[in-house]
C-alpha cells in the first residue's frame, strides 16, 4: 500500500533537492575556477595573428611567443560548454537551465535562417534582378548593373512576397493564400518530378542494373570466378525482397493465401531494414555524443586523457 506524501513533505524534499544542487554547482564552480587559474590551457583559445586573419595556434606558435589568448573565442568555448551541459541537464529532468538554453536556441536559430534567406536569396535573386544598380552599389559589387531582358517578371514574386507578409495582419490574412498557393503548387510540381525521377524510376533502374550481364557471368565462371554468381544471387534476393515489400504495401486486395505469405516475407525484409536503420541511427547519435564529450574534455577542460 502506498501513501501520498503530505504537501509540506513535498516542499521539504524540493528545498532539500535545491540545496543539494546548489552545493553541487558550487563545488563544480570552485573546481573549475581552480583549474582555470592553475592550468593555462583550460577554457582558453590560443590564436596566432597571421596578418590576414586569426588561426588556431600550434605548440610551436606558443613556444615562439606569437600566440595569444583570444578572449572572444575563449568566452565562446565557455559558453559552448555551458550550453552543452545545459542541454544534457534535461536527462535529469526539465529545469530552468535547460529552458534558458532552449530559449536561446530558438531565438538564434530563427534569426539565423532569416538572415541566411535575406542575404542568399532575397538580395541576389529578388533585389539583384529588380534593382541591379542599387543592389550592386552596396551589397554585391560584382553584380552586372544591366537588367536582364525579362527582369520585370520578378515583380511577381515581390508582390506575392508582400502578400505573404499580409498574414501578419489578421484583416488581410486572406491575401497570403495566393503566395501560399504558389508555394504549394511549385512544391507539388517539384516533388512530383523529383520523386518520379529519383525515387521511382531511379530505384527501379538501379535494381535492374544490379544484375550482372550474362556474358560476364559465363566468362567469370569459365575462369573459375564465382563472384558474378554471388552478385546474381544477391540481385535476385533484392528483386524478390522488393516485390514482397510492395505486395505488403498493396492494400487493395486482402492479404490471405499466397498474397499473405508473400506479404509476410515483405514484413521480414522491412523489419531487417528497420533494424539496420536503427543500428545506424544509434551509431550516428553516439558519434555526435562522443564529439560533444571530446569538446568538453579536451577543448574546454583541457584534460590530459589518452587520445586527446
Amino acid at each position: 500500500m502506498t501513501t501520498t506524501p503530505r504537501p509540506d513533505t513535498n516542499q521539504n524534499l524540493k528545498t532539500f533537492e535545491k540545496r543539494v544542487w546548489l552545493a553541487v554547482i558550487l563545488i563544480i564552480g570552485i573546481v573549475l575556477m581552480t583549474r582555470f587559474f592553475t592550468v593555462k590551457e583550460m577554457g582558453r583559445y590560443y590564436a596566432v595573428d597571421t596578418g590576414s586573419g586569426l588561426e588556431a595556434a600550434t605548440a610551436v606558435d606558443k613556444e615562439a611567443g606569437v600566440a595569444f589568448v583570444d578572449v572572444d573565442r575563449s568566452i565562446g568555448i565557455w559558453i559552448s560548454a555551458l550550453m552543452t551541459i545545459g542541454i544534457f541537464s534535461f536527462l535529469y529532468k526539465d529545469n530552468p537551465y535547460y529552458k534558458v538554453c532552449e530559449a536561446l536556441f530558438i531565438g538564434i536559430s530563427a534569426a539565423y535562417w532569416m538572415v541566411l534567406s535575406f542575404w542568399t536569396t532575397i538580395i541576389p535573386n529578388l533585389f539583384g534582378k529588380l534593382f541591379p544598380t542599387w543592389t550592386q552599389s552596396w551589397a554585391i559589387p560584382g553584380l552586372p548593373t544591366a537588367h536582364e531582358h525579362d527582369w520585370w517578371l520578378y515583380f511577381v514574386p515581390l508582390i506575392l512576397g508582400i502578400m505573404l507578409l499580409m498574414r501578419l495582419f489578421p484583416k488581410y490574412g486572406w491575401m497570403a493564400r495566393w503566395p501560399l498557393a504558389f508555394i504549394i503548387g511549385t512544391t507539388a510540381g517539384l516533388r512530383l518530378i523529383g520523386f518520379l525521377e529519383a525515387d521511382f524510376w531511379g530505384q527501379i533502374i538501379n535494381t535492374i542494373n544490379s544484375f550482372p550481364s550474362y556474358a560476364s557471368m559465363i566468362e567469370a565462371v569459365n575462369e573459375g570466378n564465382y563472384s558474378e554468381l554471388f552478385k546474381l544471387s544477391n540481385a535476385i534476393i533484392v528483386v524478390v525482397s522488393i516485390l514482397a515489400c510492395l505486395v505488403y504495401f498493396f492494400f487493395s486486395i486482402e492479404h490471405k493465401g499466397a498474397v499473405a505469405k508473400v506479404a509476410r516475407l515483405g514484413i521480414f525484409v522491412l523489419m531487417v531494414t528497420f533494424g539496420a536503420g536503427f543500428g545506424f541511427t544509434v551509431m550516428g547519435r553516439i558519434a555526435l555524443l562522443a564529439i560533444r564529450l571530446e569538446f568538453l574534455i579536451y577543448d574546454w577542460l583541457a584534460l590530459d586523457i589518452v587520445g586527446g
Binding site: L158, F195, G279
Partner: protein
C-alpha cells in the same frame, strides 16, 4: 474568388514545372518558377521570424508563465538578427575591393569624348535580334548604322566576352581592332580604367604631375576635372604607422623598397596611395629564402643548436634535424625548372591575322604559330645561380637582374623561377618546421635552443602583421557591406559557432540516450518480426565496433564461412536486404507523393487553403 484564384495559381505553378521538365523549350519557365519559389521561401522565413517576435513580445508584455524565457528568446533573436543583417564586423569582400586602385565616381555620360572609340562594323547576321550584347559591355557598347561605338577603355575580360559572343571571324577581328583602339595613352596604360558597373574612374598607383596633366588634357568638363582631383588626392595620400625599429627586418631597411613605401629610422613606415596586393606580398617576402646547405653547413647549424642549450641532444634528434635540412631545394632543381620553362611552345595567331588569311583566300586556316627556339641557361647564368646560393642575403630580384645580364631569360622562365624560389622556406619557416618536427619526436629543447630556432619565425610573424596593418590602413574601403554575413570572427559567426552549433549538435547527441531507452522498452523478443529487428540492429551495431570484429575474427577470412564474420554480415545486410527494403519504401513514398501532388494540382485536395473564415 478567394478560393478559385489560389487554386489556379497552384495548378499553373505546378503544371508549369512539370511541363518544363519534359519540353526543353519551356525549361526557362521552370527555372524561373524555381527562383520564385526560393524567393517566397526566403520571405516565408522572414514571416516566421516576425511571427516568433510577435508571439514572444505578447508573452513578455502579458507577463505570461515563462515570460522570462521568451525574453531570452527575443533578445537572442534580435541580437543575432542585428549582427547578421547589418554584417557587423564583417570585412569587405577582398575580391571586390580593387586593392591598389583608387576610385572616383564618374558616370558613362561624364566620360570625356576622347574616351569614345568607334570602328566600322555590324553584329553578325547569325546573331538573332533578341540576343543582347555580353553583360560586361552592354552599357558601354552600341552598334548602329554600321558603326560600333565603345565608351571607356576595354579590359581583357570584356574583349574575351566579345570574342565569345560570335564565332564569326570578321566580328572577332573587328573586336580585336576595337580593343586595340580603346586603350588609354601609353603613359596611363595599366593605371587608368573606368568601370561601368561601378560607375567609377579608377587609378592604380601614385598619380604623378605628368600623369595628371595627361588626364586633364583628355577632357575639360567639370565632373571629369573633379574626378581627377579626387584621384590625385587619394593616390597621393600618405598613411604612416609607428613601428618599433627592432621589428623592421634589416633586409627591408637595406634592400630595395617598393616605390610607394618609405621607412624612417625613427620607426615610421609610410605608404603612399592604396597599396596593391603585389606590394604587400613583396614587403612580406623581404626575408631571404634559405639556401641549400652542404653537409658541413648542416653540421655547423646542428652544432650551433647543441651549443646554445644546456641539455644534450641525442643522435636520433640529430638525424631528424639533418633529415629536414636534406629536404631543402637544390641548385639542380632550380636549373631544371628554369630550363623547362624555357622550352619553346607554339603560339596562337590573332583573330586579325586569321581574318586577313581568310580574305587572302587561304582555305585551310591554321591558328598555330610554330614554336621558336628554346632557351636554356648558359654557363654565366649558372655561375650567377652559384653566386646567389653563396650569398644568403641576395634577393630574388637581384638574381633576376644578374641572370638577364648574363644571358637570355624569358618572361616565363622568370615567373617560374620566382614562383619556385618564393615557395622555399625562409629561415623563420625552416626554424618553425624544425621545432615542430623535433617536438613531434618528443625532443626536449631548452629556452635558448627554442630561441635560436624560433627567433626568426617570430620576427617574420611580427613583420607580416605590420605589413598587413599598413596594407589595410592605406586602403579606402569601397564596399563596406560586400563581405560575407557569416565571416569568421564576426558576432554573427560567433553566435552560430559557439551557441547555435553546439546546441544543435547536443540536442541530436541527447537522442542517443532516448533511442537507447526506447530500444530497451521496445525490443522485446515477442515474435519473429521483433527478433529480426533486434538481431539486425545488434549485428549492425556490433559490426561497427572493434569488439564486433574481434568476436568473429577466428573465422578464416578466405574460407567458405567468411560471410559469417560480423563485418561481412553487416556489409551483406546493408547492401542486399537493407537496400531492398529501402527501395520498396522509396518507391512507396514516391507513389504517395506523386498521387498527393496530382490531387493538389488538380484541386482535389484543397486543405491547404484552410476554411473560408
Amino acid at each position: 474568388m478567394k478560393r478559385t484564384i489560389p487554386l489556379m495559381i497552384t495548378a499553373v505553378g505546378g503544371i508549369l514545372l512539370i511541363v518544363a521538365t519534359f519540353i526543353p523549350a519551356t525549361k526557362d519557365w521552370g527555372e524561373k518558377a524555381t527562383i520564385w519559389f526560393d524567393i517566397l521561401a526566403g520571405i516565408a522565413f522572414i514571416l516566421g521570424g516576425v511571427n516568433l517576435l510577435m508571439i514572444h513580445l505578447s508573452k513578455v508584455s502579458d507577463r505570461k508563465k515563462g515570460w522570462a524565457y521568451s525574453l531570452i528568446t527575443l533578445l537572442s533573436f534580435l541580437t543575432m538578427l542585428f549582427a547578421g543583417l547589418f554584417k557587423i564586423g564583417s570585412p569587405p569582400a577582398p575580391d571586390q575591393e580593387f586593392y591598389g586602385e583608387s576610385f572616383a565616381p564618374l558616370t558613362i555620360s561624364q566620360l570625356p569624348d576622347s574616351a569614345t572609340f568607334t570602328i566600322p562594323g555590324e553584329i553578325p547576321a547569325t546573331i538573332t535580334d533578341h540576343i543582347e550584347l555580353p553583360a560586361s559591355v552592354r552599357t558601354q557598347m552600341t552598334v548602329a548604322d554600321g558603326t560600333i561605338t565603345f565608351r571607356g577603355w576595354m579590359r581583357p575580360n570584356q574583349l574575351n566576352d566579345l570574342i565569345d559572343f560570335s564565332d564569326n571571324l570578321k566580328w572577332r577581328a573587328t573586336m580585336e581592332a576595337l580593343a586595340e583602339k580603346a586603350k588609354p595613352q601609353v603613359t596611363l596604360t595599366g593605371s587608368l580604367d573606368w568601370y561601368s558597373d561601378h560607375r567609377a574612374l579608377s587609378y592604380g598607383g601614385v598619380m604623378t604631375p605628368e600623369d595628371r596633366t595627361s588626364l586633364e588634357q583628355m577632357g575639360s568638363d567639370a565632373p571629369w576635372k573633379s574626378a581627377i582631383d579626387q584621384l590625385d588626392k587619394l593616390t597621393n595620400k600618405k598613411i604612416s604607422l609607428n613601428v618599433k625599429p627592432e621589428d623592421v627586418p634589416p633586409a627591408f631597411i637595406n634592400g630595395d623598397k617598393p616605390a610607394t613605401v618609405a621607412y624612417e629610422s625613427s620607426g615610421q613606415l609610410t605608404a603612399t596611395g592604396d597599396m596593391t596586393t603585389g606590394t604587400r606580398d613583396t614587403l612580406k617576402s623581404v626575408f631571404p629564402v634559405v639556401r641549400p646547405m652542404t653537409p658541413e653547413q648542416q653540421q655547423a647549424y646542428w652544432q650551433s643548436l647543441v651549443d646554445a642549450g644546456e641539455k644534450p641532444l641525442d643522435d636520433d634528434a640529430r638525424q631528424t634535424f639533418i633529415g629536414i635540412l636534406d629536404t631543402l631545394w637544390t641548385k639542380q632543381q632550380l636549373v631544371d625548372i628554369i630550363n623547362a620553362a624555357g622550352i619553346a611552345k607554339p603560339g596562337t595567331k590573332s583573330w586579325t591575322q586569321l581574318y586577313e588569311e581568310q580574305q587572302a583566300g587561304v582555305a585551310d586556316l591554321n591558328p598555330e604559330i610554330p614554336a621558336g627556339e628554346s632557351v636554356t641557361l648558359n654557363d654565366a647564368q649558372l655561375q650567377a645561380i652559384d653566386a646567389y646560393i653563396a650569398a644568403p642575403q641576395q634577393r630574388i630580384s637581384q638574381l633576376v637582374i644578374n641572370l638577364k645580364a648574363a644571358g637570355t631569360l624569358t618572361g616565363g622562365q622568370q615567373a617560374a623561377m620566382t614562383k619556385y624560389l618564393s615557395s622555399q622556406p625562409t629561415s623563420g619557416r625552416l626554424g618553425r618546421d624544425l621545432t615542430q618536427t623535433l617536438m613531434d619526436k618528443n625532443v626536449s629543447l631548452d629556452q635558448a635552443q627554442l630561441e635560436l630556432l624560433l627567433g626568426p619565425y617570430r620576427s617574420e610573424m611580427v613583420w607580416a602583421r605590420i605589413v598587413e596593418r599598413l596594407f589595410i590602413a592605406s586602403h579606402v574601403v569601397k564596399y563596406p557591406y560586400s563581405g560575407e554575413y557569416n565571416a569568421t570572427g564576426t558576432p554573427f559567426w560567433w553566435m552560430y559557432e559557439y551557441i547555435m552549433q553546439p546546441l544543435m549538435a547536443t540536442v541530436f547527441a541527447l537522442l542517443a540516450f532516448y533511442v537507447a531507452s526506447a530500444a530497451f522498452r521496445a525490443f522485446r523478443v515477442k515474435n519473429v518480426e521483433a527478433s529480426l529487428l533486434l538481431g539486425t540492429a545488434f549485428i549492425i551495431l556490433l559490426g561497427r565496433t572493434f569488439a564486433g570484429v574481434w568476436l568473429t575474427s577466428w573465422i578464416d577470412p578466405a574460407g567458405p564461412f567468411s560471410g559469417f564474420r560480423i563485418e561481412n554480415m553487416t556489409v551483406w545486410i546493408m547492401s542486399v536486404i537493407n537496400t531492398a527494403g529501402n527501395r520498396a519504401i522509396f518507391i512507396g513514398i514516391a507513389l504517395g507523393i506523386i498521387s498527393t501532388s496530382v490531387k493538389v494540382l488538380l484541386g482535389v485536395d484543397r486543405s491547404y487553403l484552410g476554411s473560408d473564415d
